[in-house]
């Protein structure tokens, strides 16, 4: 059953990714089709997660592939909050191809089935959930930062077609990406605290060190924004770099440990 549900989610996310590319040519049908793709895909993935939770004994998302599956669901869920508004549709162009690719990777790694049997404690499950939610929020913040950089470039280049596409105002993107990063930081902090509560001597590994490093970088970025006026382009670039760090270093350290 779970394996059957992954296909509609994958197909719908893939359709959304392509349809958002159509939205680039002009607002209209492409954007509407993409939004429906996101909605249907997210509902299918929700059903998939429910089936996994019911049919699996223990925590079904304890493996890297399972965690990726849950991570994609959180990212798309967070995107749906804004993505249904016409002005924010193009954010999907940054989010949905990544979501589709990661879900495919989760499927390939066996994270969408029910065979996984992992028996972590309740605290560890909460820790994993919070950490994934925090990283999902950071991904969304970075998605908005990418959209900011793209729109800022169009404004700088004085693109005559600038007003043809519905894109959120630069200030709104800057503000929203900062807020998303702040919320993610708070969720990450909670996740780290819960992780430390279930921490046993000798458990500390490279992945934990990298996670703490990422937390410190995000916190520093937000403090600099507040205290030193680090905003706009420089803030957006930093957020994208943070996500790149997460995307590259965290999996490497995870597999290494």
């Amino acid at each position: 059953m779970a394996e059957l549900l992954v296909w509609p989610a994958l197909i719908a996310y893939g359709e959304a990714a392509f349809a958002y590319a159509g939205e680039l040519r002009g607002p209209g049908l492409g954007g509407r089709l993409a939004t429906w793709g996101v909605r249907i895909g997210w509902l299918a993935q929700t059903a998939l997660l429910v089936v996994q939770a019911i049919d699996t004994e223990g925590f079904p998302w304890g493996t890297w592939a399972g965690a990726l599956n849950l991570f994609v669901w959180l990212v798309v869920g967070a995107y749906l909050i804004w993505g249904c508004r016409p002005r924010y549709r193009l954010l999907g162009l940054a989010v949905m191809p990544v979501a589709a690719a990661l879900l495919a990777a989760a499927w390939a790694g066996g994270g969408t089935g029910v065979a996984t049997r992992d028996e972590p404690g309740g605290l560890l499950a909460v820790h994993v959930g919070l950490m994934l939610a925090g990283f999902a929020g950071l991904t969304l913040a970075a998605g908005m930062a990418v959209l900011y950089l793209w729109q800022e470039r169009r404004l700088k280049r004085r693109d005559a077609q600038l007003l043809r596409l519905r894109v959120p105002p630069l200030e709104a993107l800057d503000r929203l990406s900062a807020r998303s990063a702040l919320v993610s930081l708070l969720v990450l902090s909670c996740g780290i605290v819960v992780g430390l509560a279930s921490f046993e001597q000798g458990d500390f590994d490279a992945a934990m060190a990298v996670t703490l490093g990422i937390w410190a970088v995000v916190a520093t970025t937000l403090v600099l924004r507040r205290e030193a006026g680090l905003r706009g382009r420089r803030f957006a670039v930093l957020l994208v770099l943070v996500l790149a760090l997460v995307a590259v270093v965290l999996p490497l350290t995870h597999f290494a440990s």
Binding site: A160, L162, L163, L170, E171, A228, R231, G232
Partner: protein, 419 residues
């Protein structure tokens, strides 16, 4: 009922002729009342057109009357006006009004002002059943075209483009301040456009303080000299420049301290001057966006091209609404026949019920209500399909023939003729 339109517009007539027949709302109202004279009339007068919409239920040379009225309005230019008048009837007249209302007949496709002008003309007109329906549907068509297409969304002038760009950077302009550099006409228009979207004009910087004060008092700002300009930059979100200075009024070195004081907040420079007032090298500074007059005109041209492509979609909406109006107007031809048929059936029902009651004796109130309801339902059900078919036939242009057949078959109106 006949509908006629006589008018003059920017398509054929130069402004010298159009201004002779342009009327204000009060004159439009009195002219409509005078032209109606037992019929219906609406006078639509905008800067691009003056049109008379006339409707009457008897054969009347409507367009002749309208044409004479416009020629009289033109006075000594009447002879020059006559050849450029256009005359449309029934479906064509309705289609024309729907196009006007949707902004498809305007110089700038989809311009927003026309919808309000059509509404004003309708409200002061001498309307009856036909023009009331026509203008209500025209207003609906205009709104529909703007909601379902993007024909009215993009800016169609340089000041509107500047304001739209400011919204691309800041979103809502509420709480954002604008600094005007120079007190020219273009600055004023741009300032008004920005104000209409919620921005506050904080200061007008001008070489001659008196000129600056004049504009500043109009837009609710303070006037400052050009020497205070750099300090004012620190607080402004949008700078609109249009001086006649020979060189840059704001350059990178001069603006640097003010931009530093902004702590990364974005700033938009709109340079409407030739030669330019704002150093284009400023666009290399983080968070600073510089648009000159050529950039703005390119944005306007691109958005007008977008409007023209949307106009094709709006034309389809107009055509479907015109078809709906035609069907409604055609159905008017069979309405009297339908009304007669229903009245005839009701008369038979009431007579037969009275006869039955006389035979049966007086019925109890509840029984009587039941029999009334049953017989009324039978009549309604019997007549439902013929009514629908008659209306469909009217829409397909066979309505009059069908109406005659119904009158003949049921003997409608024969008793009146015999008496």
């Amino acid at each position: 009922m006949k509908l006629a339109l006589v008018g003059v517009s920017h398509h054929q007539a130069p402004v010298e002729l159009r201004e002779r027949v342009a009327v204000d709302l009060d004159t439009a109202a009195s002219l409509a009342r005078r032209l109606a004279n037992g019929c219906e009339a609406v006078v639509l007068s905008t800067c691009n057109r003056t049109e008379l919409y006339l409707a009457c239920d008897h054969d009347s040379p409507l367009d002749e009357r309208g044409g004479r009225a416009l020629v009289d309005l033109a006075g000594d230019e009447g002879a020059a006006l006559a050849p450029v008048l256009y005359r449309l009837r029934d479906d064509s007249a309705a289609l024309h009004l729907f196009r006007v209302s949707a902004g498809l007949d305007s110089l700038v496709p989809g311009e927003g002002e026309i919808l309000g002008q059509v509404r004003d003309a309708f409200e002061v007109g001498a309307t009856g059943p036909l023009l009331d329906r026509l203008f209500r549907q025209a207003l609906y068509t205009g709104r529909r075209a703007r909601v379902e297409t993007a024909i009215g969304e993009s800016p169609a002038s340089v000041p509107a483009a500047a304001a739209a760009l400011a919204q691309q950077v800041f979103g809502s302009l509420e709480g954002h301040s604008v600094l005007l550099v120079g007190a020219g006409k273009m600055s004023e228009l741009t300032a008004r456009n920005l104000r209409s979207r919620g921005a506050t004009i904080s200061a007008v910087a001008n070489r001659t303080l008196e000129h600056g004060e004049e504009l500043a008092s109009q837009v609710g700002a303070r006037a400052i000299g050009l020497e205070s300009l750099v300090a004012a930059l620190a607080d402004a979100d949008v700078v609109v420049a249009s001086t006649s200075a020979p060189g840059f009024v704001v350059d990178v070195a001069g603006a640097a301290p003010a931009l530093r004081a902004r702590r990364g907040r974005p700033i938009l420079f709109v340079d409407l001057a030739v030669p330019r007032d704002i150093d284009p090298a400023l666009s290399g500074v983080d968070g600073t966006f510089v648009y000159d007059i050529d950039d703005l005109e390119a944005v306007v041209e691109a958005s007008l091209a977008g409007r023209r492509s949307e106009a094709l979609r709006a034309e389809r909406i107009v055509a479907s609404e015109a078809e709906r109006f035609r069907e409604w107007q055609a159905s008017l031809a069979v309405v009297p026949a339908i009304a007669s048929l229903r009245a005839h059936a009701e008369e038979i029902r009431a007579t037969e019920l009275a006869k039955a009651e006389a035979r049966l004796g007086r019925m109890a109130d509840d029984d009587r209500k039941l029999v009334e309801a049953v017989t009324s339902q039978i009549v309604a059900k019997l007549l439902h399909l013929p009514t629908i078919r008659l209306k469909e036939a009217a829409a397909a242009a066979d309505g009059v023939v069908y109406a005659d057949v119904v009158r003949h078959l049921f003997g409608l109106g024969e008793e009146e003729q015999q008496s």
